[in-house]
């Protein structure tokens, strides 16, 4: 599959049983557009985390409201936007997870967003509580350094 501009839109019931399906879709698309297995599994996990948050936090686990996924691919990147219309959160007030501190306190939870940021090249939150909450994640086909190298060729 060529890296033409392409767009996939999915609305999927927000139950944990669908995380497997979502991972399968994301990894199939990521692989088809040419990411290596390592990047495919990073993208897969980051999207799983974003969708698990929608199920757990946005809709408080008890509603069959949709998780809204938009995947866009162009010649240089794959971006995934996960949208919900749930209760939202103030990400500016989120404590920056300090992993050492976190571990010292043996807290449960709070790992998802940290992972998303570690796995993807860009992660951006946008929440209007009660209206809509969006996480946008981007992965580039080439890292910055590689891009420079590719240009030189």
């Amino acid at each position: 599959m060529s890296k033409d501009k392409m767009k996939y839109q999915l609305k999927i019931p927000s139950i944990t049983d669908n995380l497997e399906l979502i991972r399968m879709i994301i990894s199939t698309v990521a692989e088809k557009v040419g990411f290596n297995p390592d990047d495919v599994s990073k993208i897969e996990l980051a999207v799983d985390e974003a969708c698990a948050n929608v199920i757990k936090h946005a809709y408080s686990k008890n509603q069959l409201q949709p998780i809204d996924l938009v995947i866009e691919i162009d010649y240089k990147k794959m971006s995934i936007v996960v949208t919900d219309h749930g209760k939202g959160f103030d990400f500016t007030k989120m404590p920056q997870t300090d992993v050492k501190e976190y571990l010292a306190e043996m807290r449960v939870g709070g790992l998802g967003i940290y992972l998303m940021k570690a796995l993807m090249d860009e992660v951006e939150f946008n929440s209007h509580p009660g209206m809509k909450t969006q996480v946008k994640m981007v992965k580039y086909f080439l890292k910055n350094g590689e891009l420079e190298l590719a240009k030189e060729k």
Binding site: T16, D17, L19, E20, R23, S41, L45, D48, E49, A52, I55, K56, V99, K100, Y102, L103, M106, R107, V108, G109, L111, G112, Y114, L115, A118, L119
Partner: protein
């Protein structure tokens, strides 16, 4: 078709949990139940063998965080073994090797419990 499975075996006074398949927000409660029932039986020396685990998300890691304090307060431990590199990376990204004994293989972990 189960996408996740926990099986249990005893080796002396150590219990080994074999986890298999996909450990995510959907299946994490199954592991939680497995660990909870060990603790209810006063079994605090636990090895979790990741050999057949294909996938883990933070919901799976969270399960270990939920039990470790209680287990250590009871002179026990959870030792994690046989992770494939993809799974180890997730633990590593989150700094878990600082907190958990992550070992090459099951036998090694059992031996350490008995030494």
């Amino acid at each position: 078709m189960e996408s996740f499975e926990v099986t249990k075996k005893h080796d002396g006074n150590v219990v080994v949990l074999n986890i298999k398949g996909y450990l995510d927000a959907h299946t994490a409660p199954m592991l939680e139940n497995g660990l909870q029932s060990l603790i209810d039986q006063g079994q605090f020396r636990i090895v979790v063998n990741f050999k057949d685990l294909i996938y883990i998300s933070s919901a799976g890691l969270g399960v270990f965080m939920g039990f470790i304090e209680n287990i250590r307060n009871n002179q026990g431990d959870i030792k994690l073994t046989n992770m494939n590199p993809k799974i180890f990376r997730v633990f590593d990204l989150l700094g878990f090797p600082m907190l958990y004994d992550i070992m090459e293989d099951e036998q090694q972990a059992i031996t350490k419990f008995n030494s």
